[in-house]
């Protein structure tokens, strides 16, 4: 942005940069106070000790050791921590895959098959409106459909397809994944749609003129050029699911473990050092996933 400024902007730069600094100061202060300092404190407190009443400043690896207690013993099977991470990663992967397929399809339809710009905007807004409504409401809205006496079971019994209600529709892995897909496909649609709208339409014509089939064009032209949107959407969905405790709590009937839920429970018991150590580990895992996903995607250029 500043590099693109015409020369007339560059001349009084020192004055501008001071003004710019003041303008950005309150914004920056919020992130220092409510993001950087808290993160630093988490790392610091993860090395502290604690008893039932208070936190004891110090430097100990006790919290990390206790999280991985029993993990070295292969004969016992997986320890609780690794099992929980395994289950959370499993949810992340399944949800990522489903939201990617649905999100890509919806974005592709909007970007390449809807012709009038007005209709495109209207349908796009239609897809994004639920994002501004309550997540918990959207979760419990599945109850009348999937419950034991819900619409799905009533219909299936009415059609004589099943004798007794299906129990695994609600408060199960299935309902958790369903709710995640329901809530977060939007995070895939928006960035992928954004990338697709930048694709030069003449490239598609060139591909078809050169004899490419529809699928070949899709796979060799559209998918590579939507890569940035796919990566940004993937980062959103995966980080949300990795840290989630609300959706897994409500849709899993408070019975399914997740990393976020462990942290939440430990915090509510005021075991801050343990919760902090878990948060540091979660952060490390998430950062590794993101690092694996991104190779220099400049988000700023994509807007």
């Amino acid at each position: 942005m500043s590099t693109a400024a015409p020369p007339s902007h560059a001349a009084p730069a020192p004055v501008h940069s001071i003004a710019a600094w003041w303008q950005a100061a309150p914004f920056t202060a919020v992130f220092v106070l409510f993001f950087l300092i808290p993160l630093t404190l988490i790392v610091m407190v993860s090395f502290w000790d604690f008893n039932e009443y208070e936190l004891l400043p110090g430097f100990t690896f006790k919290n990390y050791v206790s999280i991985f207690a029993g993990c070295g013993d292969a004969s016992e099977g997986l320890c609780v921590t690794l099992k929980t991470y395994g289950s959370t990663l499993k949810f992340s992967f399944i949800v990522w895959l489903i939201t990617l397929v649905i999100g890509f399809t919806v974005a592709y339809f909007l970007a390449f098959h809807v012709r009038s710009a007005g209709m495109q905007t209207l349908l796009f807004v239609l897809c994004t409106i639920p994002f501004w409504t309550s997540n918990v409401i959207r979760m419990i809205s599945w109850v009348p459909l999937l419950g034991r006496n819900g619409l799905v079971n009533q219909t299936l019994i009415g059609m004589n397809l099943i004798e007794t209600p299906i129990e695994w529709l609600l408060f199960s892995d299935f309902s958790v994944v369903l709710a995640f897909v329901h809530l977060y496909t939007m995070f895939m649609i928006v960035p992928i749609f954004n990338s697709m709208m930048r694709i030069d339409r003449s490239l598609l014509e060139a591909a078809s003129d050169s004899g490419a089939s529809g699928w070949q064009t899709l796979w060799n032209v559209v998918v590579p050029l939507s890569r940035t949107g796919i990566i940004i959407g993937s980062i959103f969905v995966i980080t949300i699911v990795m840290g989630d405790f609300v959706t897994i709590g409500v849709m899993g009937g408070q019975q399914i473990a997740s990393v976020g839920k462990i942290i939440q429970v430990q915090t509510s018991y005021l075991q801050f050092p343990l919760a902090a150590a878990n948060a540091v580990i979660l952060l490390a895992v998430v950062l590794m996933i993101i690092w694996g996903l991104t190779r220099l995607v400049d988000i700023r250029k994509e807007l």
Partner: protein
């Protein structure tokens, strides 16, 4: 008008997928909207046993120990505060990023990190920060020998301290990204013209830039309010003794077994939609006003 080409064969299956997706998005919401008008005898699922406002009445009386009205007022107040802060701080920061901003890249990196950071981590960190502040204040009061103040001191965690901060870490990144999108498409020629005509930077901003970006600024306000209104994860560990409406709602999902919870869902959704409607109307009016002036 160009002649319409024939639609490709892939159009209809894709349109069907899109239709199903929209049904998937809105169907369940519509169902609880209908069920919130369930008659007094009705239950959590179909069939409807009459239509009534019975469950809205129950909701107004309060659900168990939860004071819904108070939680609603808290959420509205917090949402308004978050909206105001998000608009002002994002616009200021957006202006700053147009100039030469030392450390701008680092700041942008932090903002993106805040956006994709698992919310439970942010929430835990803020909760921790304010509890450490509490211990610090208590120790200071003790050291100063102010017994009365020490006894009266509760906690620094609260709606307009820690919870406001937690919400801003979630809304401000959206605000800044919108500002980037706005200024990437912004023609600086208007400002330069104003400057050439002798406008001060403030005049240039108020009379030229602000009217041009006004519809987007209204949009930022909507992001600020609606995201705060529904926020749970970042608030959960960072709010202290009181609860916002979505937090109460989350607690109620496991205890309330009557359609009153659907009534609550309808109420909060109506608020969200009302805010969106006002935003659209305002953005449209502002955009139209600008065009009318230009023409």
């Amino acid at each position: 008008m160009r002649v319409r080409e024939k639609r490709p064969a892939s159009f209809w299956p894709l349109a069907a997928v899109f239709g199903l997706f929209v049904l998937f998005m809105y169907g369940p919401m519509l169902v609880i909207f209908i069920l919130s008008f369930q008659g007094p005898e009705g239950g959590l699922t179909f069939p409807l046993r009459g239509l009534s406002l019975h469950w809205f009445g129950k909701l107004a009386e309060g659900l168990g120990v939860v004071d819904i009205g108070a939680a609603l007022r808290r959420s509205l107040a917090l949402g308004a505060a978050v909206m105001l802060c998000t608009v002002v701080l994002s616009v200021l920061a957006g202006l700053a990023f147009r100039k030469r901003l030392a450390g701008g890249n680092a700041l942008f990196f932090i903002v993106v990190a805040s956006l994709i950071m698992p919310s439970i981590i942010v929430s835990l960190g803020i909760g921790l920060e304010f509890r450490l502040i509490d211990s610090g204040i208590k120790a200071a009061l003790e050291w100063l020998g102010m017994e009365g103040a020490l006894e009266g001191y509760g906690t620094s965690l609260g709606l307009f301290t820690s919870a406001l901060g937690a919400h801003l870490t979630w809304t401000l990144p959206f605000g800044l990204l919108i500002m980037f999108a706005v200024f990437n498409r912004f023609d600086p020629a208007y400002e330069e013209a104003a400057r050439d005509l002798g406008a001060t930077p403030w005049q240039g901003f108020v009379h030229v830039v602000l009217p041009l970006i006004a519809p987007s600024v209204v949009g930022i306000g909507m992001f600020g309010f609606t995201l705060s209104w529904d926020e749970i994860a970042r608030t959960s560990q960072a709010i202290g003794d009181v609860n916002t409406l979505p937090l109460e709602l989350q607690g109620l999902t496991s205890t309330v077994t009557t359609p009153a919870i659907y009534a609550l869902g309808t109420v909060t959704t109506v608020v969200s939609f009302a805010v969106m409607g006002v935003t659209l109307a305002l953005a449209w009016a502002l955009g139209r006003g600008r065009k009318a002036k230009a023409g």
